[in-house]
Amino acid sequence: MSGIPLTWYLIVAAALFAIGLYGVLARRNAVAILMAVELMLNAVNINLIAFWRYLTPDRPIGLAWALFVFTVAAAEAAVGLALVISIYRQRDSVIAEEMDILKY
């Protein structure tokens, strides 16, 4: 037996996803939360490309999905960081807990 089993990629991606999830749940700074979201999106992409390579290398399904995840990640980063900067201008804060205007 040589080569890398598929499960190794899946486990690395699961670890990356769990780390990103912890960052999203525990961080206070909105920019740090966005960074953790990017980690989670990367974990998903590893899974998509690993499944494409191992199970359907002759059809580009996984690659197409990974490309759309890339697109969505870029859009999410641009809009998310623009929102953070806009909120910072209005409220002088990037702490997620203090973004509570909609609550009252």
């Binding site: 080569g3 190794w8 749940l25 740090a32 992409n45 990640a73 859009a75």
Partner: protein, 179 residues
């Protein structure tokens, strides 16, 4: 253990360690640098998976564009995060428990569905099979993206999404005009 496996272990260990730095480091700027290292590790995994185009795209989009955006955002909002302020919210223990539980669940499902006896039965799970078309996969992807029976509609939707995000980011980040 083959050379490929050792390379895989080194790359994924680097990726996971820098991901841990991203979510735990108090200094946001250092966290952003670790994020770049983590993206680089993921690009290395793409190379191991014979997806060279995606490794290049990862370098350009994630390390080149998204990381720079993040660093700009950190610098524009910087003085707020002084060292004295806590960088984790009050529920961080619950968050830690939740993410460890999620990881355990994933691990259980992965081992159940793809590991052990299943992997013994299907040799394709042990190592990627020889795929002669792998070098042409980017050509196939490009053809599928503009094929009416393929992904032309999601492709167009993605381009509209990017345009919307572009305009939205400009509009949202614009300073309010004083009337």
């Amino acid at each position: 253990m083959t050379a490929q496996q050792i390379i895989f272990i080194v790359i994924s260990a680097a990726t996971i360690v820098s991901a841990l730095i991203v979510v735990t480091n108090r200094n946001l700027f250092h966290a952003a640098l670790a994020l770049m290292a983590s993206f680089l590790g993921v690009a290395g995994l793409y190379v191991l998976l014979d997806a060279g185009f995606f490794a290049a795209a990862q370098l350009l989009i994630y390390i080149g564009a998204i990381s720079i955006l993040v660093i700009f955002a950190i610098m524009l909002t910087r003085r707020l995060m002084s060292a004295s302020e806590p960088s984790f919210n009050s529920q961080w223990v619950m968050g830690l428990v939740a993410s460890v539980l999620v990881f355990g669940l994933f691990l259980y499902v992965i081992i159940q569905a793809w590991g052990g006896a299943v992997a013994q039965t299907f040799p394709v799970l042990q190592a990627p099979m020889e795929a002669p078309g792998i070098a042409d996969s980017i050509r196939a992807l490009g053809a599928a993206l503009v094929d009416p029976n393929g992904y032309v509609l999601p492709f167009e939707v993605a381009s509209v999404l990017l345009l919307g995000a572009l305009i939205g980011a400009i509009v949202v980040a614009q300073p309010e005009k004083k009337s």
